[in-house]
């Protein structure tokens, strides 16, 4: 299983090169990759139906309990099939939709990289591995939403989606770590069997809430739903794939995955059901206020995600079953509808339902498949989604107490789905032909094949529900409940209350469709949601963040080198100085005899330092500083450190050369500033000098650890084959330190290069 993910990533990074070679056939050929993975997973279906799970593991950071453990059970299987199956269709779709785009190859790279990340997410059995892939999906989603990099709207939508899901990701990381600590294991398969000891742990509720925050942001639950409609700035294949069929379902997946651990907690039931309910209603209402095909679908997706969340929150077996079936049905029809919307947009140049009409005659095939998918959205006919909706009503009817409000809520959201289905089919495809930016013509096969396959699949699984229940729903539900269950799905549930609710929803939906225009006029007057909604809250908090960052930058990074030096020195003096004074200063007990040339050298350094301070020309100051440096190098030489001395000499020389070059850039040398600051600077300088003196004095006295010089001396030749201990330490004993240091140097060089280049550009 590790290899399936690896193959996905390798395929992703090979895709741009492949596209360069294969040109127009690339998309079609690349879709064979997810198709192959789909076949691989499908071949394990019989194993899962007979209760076996597939596991593979690779130690990664064993000390931290992180391992690349993957586990294929019913729930993972359901998602893996959706990811690879719809992935294959979307890549094929993209080959038509993105044909001729200048970055088509890059698009395939990102799409396949996302596919592999998502596979890793649903197969991971280790909490931290799961988190890793979770974040990878956020990153690939960011890159895909902002794919049209020249559009400001796409960039800000990408950033918004990334900040919201990334923020939730941080909460999720905290929650997963707390859960791992509480349960004593990072393996999900261990945690689901942990039992009541886990539920009584003090970290249990915090972990629960943090994990929920992660799941809610990812699955666009209220009040974090606003990023999803904005993410429609992405190319349509991305919307169809990430933002309806797979990535946004990652949150729902996490809920289902964590279901055995949390579902008995009252916090879980209240929060998940409540948030799901609100999201379902909010999404339905907002969908009715839009006229852009993709935005309608986005809000409808939010509503459906809310329904799934709600179903996994209730905590009953029936509700979980409804959740699984609803999830599968939704992935099929919503993916299809997005592809239809994209095809319409691609062939006519607009996605506004008010500007479309009568396309049935121009694109009959697409219209037919759109109709099939819309039937599915409405939950009508012998389709899988009909079964899903019946199960939803049954689950809502089965609960007691205050949650009876779920029944009218479910009916309302279904009614809205019916109305939306009518809007999505009748408006663009029926009526009279309206003028569009592009003359409409029949879309190529790549653009209608996806909706066709998905629509037919929904129909087939509805007509023959037995394979769907035995091979998909039953193993998945078993994984969710962590208990053996039997699932039997029927198209015909008999004349019962649930069927009555379905009929009611359809009638209401038709009414809503006819009242749609007047509804929008009414809603248009109520601008309060736009002004005070979560989207505005996001904009506000981003503005505050930018303002604070600007303020802080202007304060600290004011561009005056002397200010930075002043702050750095003062902080060091304050921190180290206070520690030094605590320990007390002592003059060393015995001082070795001072030779004449040592004293002369010291005097030379002091005189040179004073000369540097008093110099009236820049060159003079630099030369004097050079004398100070050479003097120090001589001291090194004096005390038996020739390597250090040599390096010091070289550095001093190079520094002087660099200064000569830098002269051109520097402002006029101003040796005599106002006396006030000069005295303050002198004070700081003296303090720094005093600190260093104190440090040297106490360093001579303190001997906390036995010196390791002896070890180096003894082992330099035998272990490291070198007689120059300084060099042996640098390249062998402490090699990793050196590696770190030279890496920092390389980064610093890049910084110098960039700053100087930028300046030159600015000047010219």
């Amino acid at each position: 299983m590790i290899y399936t993910i690896l193959i996905g990533f390798i395929g992703a990074f090979a895709a741009p090169f492949f596209h360069r070679v294969a040109k127009r056939r690339a998309g079609l050929l690349l879709s064979l990759l997810p198709l192959g993975l789909f076949a691989f997973f499908a071949s394990y279906i019989p194993n899962l139906a007979s209760n076996a799970v597939l596991e593979s593991s690779l130690a990664w950071v064993p000390d931290l309990g992180v391992s690349l453990t993957f586990r294929l059970d019913g729930l993972s299987m359901l998602f893996a099939l959706l990811i690879t199956g719809i992935g294959a269709l979307v890549v094929m779709y993209a080959s038509g939709y993105m044909a001729g785009h200048e970055h088509e190859g890059r698009f395939y790279l990102l799409l396949l990289a996302f596919l592999s990340s998502m596979l890793g997410l649903v197969l991971a059995d280790n909490l931290l591995t799961l988190f890793l892939f979770w974040e990878l999906t956020s990153i690939t989603s960011y890159l895909l939403i902002g794919f049209e990099t020249q559009k400001a709207e796409a960039r800000s939508a990408a950033l918004q989606a990334f900040l919201v899901t990334g923020g939730g990701g941080l909460a999720l990381l905290g929650g997963l770590i707390l859960l791992g600590v509480a349960g004593g294991s990072y393996q999900i398969s261990d945690l689901v069997n942990a039992g009541s000891s886990l539920a009584e742990h003090a970290f249990f509720i915090p972990a629960l809430l943090l994990i929920l925050l992660g799941a809610f942001t990812k699955s666009a639950q209220f009040p974090f739903h606003f990023w999803l409609p904005n993410a429609m700035a992405a190319p349509t294949p991305v919307s169809a794939y990430l933002h309806s069929a797979t990535m946004v379902k990652a949150g729902v997946y996490l809920l289902a995955r964590m279901y055995p651990v949390f579902h008995e907690s009252a916090w879980w039931q209240m929060t998940v059901t409540g948030v799901g309910l609100v999201t379902m209603l909010a999404g339905a209402l907002l969908a009715l206020n839009s006229s852009d095909l993709k935005r309608i679908l986005a809000y409808s997706t939010i509503s459906a995600l809310g329904t799934m969340t709600m179903l996994f929150g209730i905590g009953s077996k029936e509700a979980a079953k409804a959740g699984i079936v609803f999830l599968l049905a939704h992935a099929l029809y919503k993916g299809a509808l997005f592809m239809v919307a994209g095809a319409v947009d691609h062939e006519t140049g607009t996605r506004d339902v008010d500007r479309l009409g009568g396309l049935r005659a121009k694109m009959p095939l697409l219209a037919a498949f759109a109709g099939l998918a819309a039937l599915s959205l409405a939950g009508l006919g012998p389709l899988l989604s009909f079964i899903g909706k019946e199960l939803l009503f049954e689950a809502a009817l089965a609960i007691q107490g205050v949650w009876h409000i779920l029944i009218p809520a479910a009916v309302f959201s279904s009614a809205v789905s019916v109305a939306l289905a009518l809007i999505l089919v009748l408006r663009p495809f029926f009526g009279s032909l309206k003028p569009t930016p592009l003359a409409p013509h029949d879309p190529p096969v790549s653009l209608w094949l996806g909706p066709a396959v998905l629509g037919m699949l929904g129909l087939a699984l509805g007509l023959f529900p037995k394979p769907a229940s035995t091979y998909l729903a039953q193993p998945a539900l078993r994984a969710v409940l962590n208990a053996p269950v039997e699932v039997k799905l029927y198209l015909w549930h008999g004349l019962n209350l649930a069927l009555g609710l379905s009929v009611l929803a359809i009638l209401l939906g038709v009414l809503l469709y006819f009242a749609w225009n007047s509804w929008r006029k009414l809603a248009g007057r109520i601008q309060i949601i736009q002004r005070w909604g979560p989207d505005a809250a996001y904009d506000g908090s981003i503005a505050v963040l930018n303002w604070a960052a600007g303020l802080q930058t202007r304060l600290l990074q004011n561009g005056y080198l002397r200010f930075y030096l002043l702050i750095t020195i003062l902080v060091v003096v304050a921190l180290a100085g206070s520690l030094l004074l605590q320990g007390g200063l002592h003059w060393p007990a015995q001082v070795t005899e001072v030779f004449f040339y040592e004293a002369a050298l010291s005097v030379l350094i002091v005189v040179a330092a004073l000369a540097a301070v008093r110099s009236r020309s820049r060159l003079g100051a630099i030369a004097a500083m050079g004398v100070v440096g050479y003097g120090i190098a001589l001291i090194f030489l004096q005390f038996g450190a020739p390597d250090l001395a040599m390096t010091q000499f070289l550095i001093e020389s190079i520094t002087v050369v660099l200064f000569v070059f830098a002269f051109y850039h520097l402002p006029r040398f101003d040796p005599l500033g106002p006396p006030g600051p000069r005295w303050a600077h002198a004070l700081v300088a003296v303090m720094a000098g005093a600190l260093m003196t104190g440090l040297v004095l106490s360093a001579v006295r303190v001997d906390l650890f036995p010196s390791i010089s002896k070890y180096f001396l003894e082992n330099s030749v035998s272990l490291a084959h070198g007689r120059n201990i300084v060099n042996v330490i640098l390249v062998d004993f402490r090699g990793i330190d050196t590696l770190g240091e030279i890496t920092v140097l390389a980064v610093a060089a890049a910084g110098v290069f960039a700053i100087l280049k930028y300046r030159r550009k600015e000047q010219s």
Partner: protein, 138 residues
Amino acid sequence: MNSLILRAAVRFLMPLLLLFSVFLLLRGHNQSGGGFAGGLVAAAAFALLSLAYNAVEARRVLRLPPALLIASGLLIAVVSGLIGLLAGQPFLTGLWTYVSIPGIGKLEIGTPVLFDIGVYLLVFGITLTMVFSLEEGA
């Protein structure tokens, strides 16, 4: 700068300095020297050239872009560490082998030498990046 004396001197100093830098690099493991010092001397040679003529001329003589020196230096240092890893030992373990060259004698070759060559190239490249950027920015 337009000094004939400096230009004439650079012609003789350049090869000497470069030879000296390689000398420092190679003797570093047993006597004073090493990749860092060697890299600085090599960079000083080109800095001198850049002073006597200009950065364009120095770049022409160098042929390689300094950024390439930095990157390859870092790469060589990392690879020298990876060799130990491939041999089943911790990252950056020093491995040594002997090569007998007729007439000269036994020569010790080890991954730390490779590491030092990486440091040499990196320091060389970084210093030149700064020198050239400053000179061209003028």
